[in-house]
Amino acid sequence: MFSLEKLVSIIQAWLQSTLGDPWAFIVVCILVGLAAITLFAILGLMLVYMERKVAAHMQIRLGPNRVGPMGIFQTTADTLKLVMKEGLTPDGADKFLFNLAPFMVMIAAMLILAPIAFAKNFQIWDISIGVLYVAAVSSVAVIGILMAGWSSNNKYSLIGAMRSAAQIVSYELSAGLSILAIVILSGSLRISDIINSQADGWWIIKGHIPVIIAFIIFIIAVTAETNRAPFDLAEAESELTAGFHTEYSGMKFALFFLAEYINIFIGCAIGATIFLGGWMPFHIGNWEAFNHIMDFIPSSLWFIGKTVFLIFLIMWFRWTFPRLRVDQLLNLEWKYLLPISMVNLLVITLMAIMGWYL
């Protein structure tokens, strides 16, 4: 059976035996970095293509269909075009911050990749405070967006950045609280522990209605945090033309664009890990035979499948709903999501104490 775990351990063993202790570690680090960047590029291309196809089919269109079979090279061609374009810096812009901002956004997105378990025992860094780390780092992205909006010296950008800041800061709360619900149930902040606690069933099934509520709130919060419609106020193109990245062009624009999709992927990956069991196959209690069959599907496929399902859900939102207004957006968070998730957290704590889950 194919397993990423074996592949990694073979490579690691080979490096250890040929290079010796410090060098092998350094080479591993470089390899991991390269793999992460490659993963980003591929993910970006795949997700943009997926988005365009999903959008097209919902809008009774065909979508990209010219470059390559089914248009699969369309996004590659677009990226090539963006790479070749001139990266303009406006005259009145703060040049240093303007050029730094896309990298800030990108680095923030990359950092969250560390604790994500892509497959069984296939994780860059199984940090003991994994969930906390994710919550902390994901709010760093807003600095990049604020930087971009402020330094562009464009009023549309500034409004977009301010909206984005207000939005991310607010929705961080309910995202954190809904993650916390699972932390209470599983009793650990470590990602691998959370996944292992779902060996006899995913939390969304084991946790009954309170966890489903937490899951819905989490999905809404992720949509908002990644600035996706119906919460795409930061770039609301019918109001602010393109929001905080109005002035960006070429590769710097591409980095923002990529970061948006990476953020979606990461948000959905976290959601899949916490609520849907990550790489954990679908297990039901003590049905040994059924569980065994499920184990035959590689763990990486389970993870990717769940993540793609969540990504699809978020795309589905985008291509169905109109955009909220800025005050409604904040009302939704502070009047509805936050109280609900707080009460929900209490209920879940009670559940955890009394052991009211499977």
């Binding site: 959008a55 809008q59 909206r163 119906p230 019918s238 291509w319 109109p322 955009r323 800025v326 409604q328």
Partner: protein, 371 residues
């Protein structure tokens, strides 16, 4: 000209929305003063697509001048041509054949439906939902095909000419129109599911861009925008032309005065238009489609004013003739121009997003405003 400073004394931001902006639907230029997110002042700057059609028409003959009006409100080009033809016919006192009247009214109402469909998609797009646009275009395409078959063009038809219509209708016309009505009736529930009932949409439009009835009249807001405030202004009812007085249909008014009321007026108006077409489509009388007219048309000296109801409101053609072959002075009273003048009043105090909802429900067509 336009303040380049960016802020005024009170520290408000001054932003140019347009002339290149996704939600101004063309080259409308609004200079808005923003206090944070709150709109304090909206000042339209027009003229980016001003072609001085009124001056052009002074050198065009009475057969030629109406084609230009298709380029004003391009979404109700039929109705604009109709108004021009009616004015000339009034001046020459031509009796139009019954068949031509039926064809004109059916095409007018089809144009109205097509215009409202496009508006529906564009409004949803202004509010951030992209998908409705494609659904509305799917149905609009059917109307375009009917137009193409009968009139020979899809947008700027120039089909209604003084004395009747340019050609007879296509043999398939009745069949296609009935097919369209059936299809559209089976699809209109999608409009309600996707947009009307959507809670986000309702929150974005209810109570937004309010204008009272008195103000609407004072600003001369006509058409669905005026009727959304309860202003009874349907020219088809008040000053019936062609055979609108023989038809059974309701004038749709809503009392809300906000964006949602204007939205509902248009949605319900589409149903009324379908109702009108249904009454006519099976009864098109046989006979001539074009009355006999002289080769060179000369309007007697005098003033001629015709008002018709386009998809956006009351469209007036005011011709002053000195007895020559060309108009001495021609004035087009375009509905969008008056509707736009109320925009400042409607959007002050709202958020930036509300401005887009207000503009969307006013259904502005910029060439119609600039002329």
């Amino acid at each position: 000209m336009i303040e380049e400073l960016g802020t005024n004394d009170q520290g408000d931001m001054i932003i140019n929305v347009g002339p290149q902006h996704p939600s101004t639907h063309g080259v409308l230029h609004l200079v808005i003063t923003l206090h944070g997110e709150t709109v304090k002042k909206v000042e339209p700057h027009l003229g980016y697509i001003h072609r001085s059609i009124e001056k052009m028409s002074e050198s065009l003959s009475y057969r030629q001048f109406s084609y230009v009006t298709s380029r004003m409100d391009y979404l109700s080009s039929h109705i604009n041509n109709h108004a021009c033809a009616l004015t000339v016919e009034k001046g020459l006192q031509i009796e139009i054949p019954g068949r031509a009247q039926y064809i004109r009214v059916i095409l007018d109402e089809l144009t109205r439906i097509a215009s409202h469909q496009l508006w529906w998609g564009a409004l949803a797009m202004d509010l951030g939902a992209f998908t409705p646009f494609f659904y509305s275009f799917r149905e609009r395409e059917m109307i375009n095909e009917i137009m193409e078959e009968t009139c020979g063009a899809r947008l700027t038809m120039n089909y209604i000419v003084p004395g009747g219509v340019m050609f007879d209708i296509h043999p398939d016309f009745q069949k296609k129109v009935k097919h369209f009505l059936k299809e559209f009736k089976s699809k209109i529930h999608e409009y309600n599911e996707l947009v009307t009932g959507n809670v986000i949409f309702q929150n974005r439009t209810k109570g937004v861009g309010y204008i009272s009835k008195e103000n609407a009249i004072s600003y001369g807001m006509t058409g669905p925008s005026g009727r959304g405030s309860g202003f009874i202004c349907d020219v088809r009812k008040l000053h019936p032309y062609e055979m609108y007085n023989q038809l059974q249909f309701d004038e749709i008014t809503e009392e809300g005065g906000d964006a949602f009321a204007r939205y509902m007026v248009r949605i319900r108006e589409m149903e009324q238009s379908m109702n009108i077409i249904e009454q006519l489509i099976d009864n098109i009388p046989e006979g001539d489609f074009l009355a006999k007219t002289k080769a060179v048309l000369k309007l007697p000296k005098g003033d001629y004013y015709t008002r018709v109801e386009t998809a956006r409101g009351e469209f007036g053609v005011y011709i002053i003739s000195e007895g020559g072959t060309t108009p001495y002075r021609i004035k087009y009273r375009s509905p969008g121009f008056s509707n736009l003048s109320a925009l400042n009043d409607m959007s002050v105090g709202g958020k930036l997003g509300d401005l887009m909802a207000t503009m969307g429900t006013l259904d502005l067509v910029i060439p119609d405003i600039d002329r």
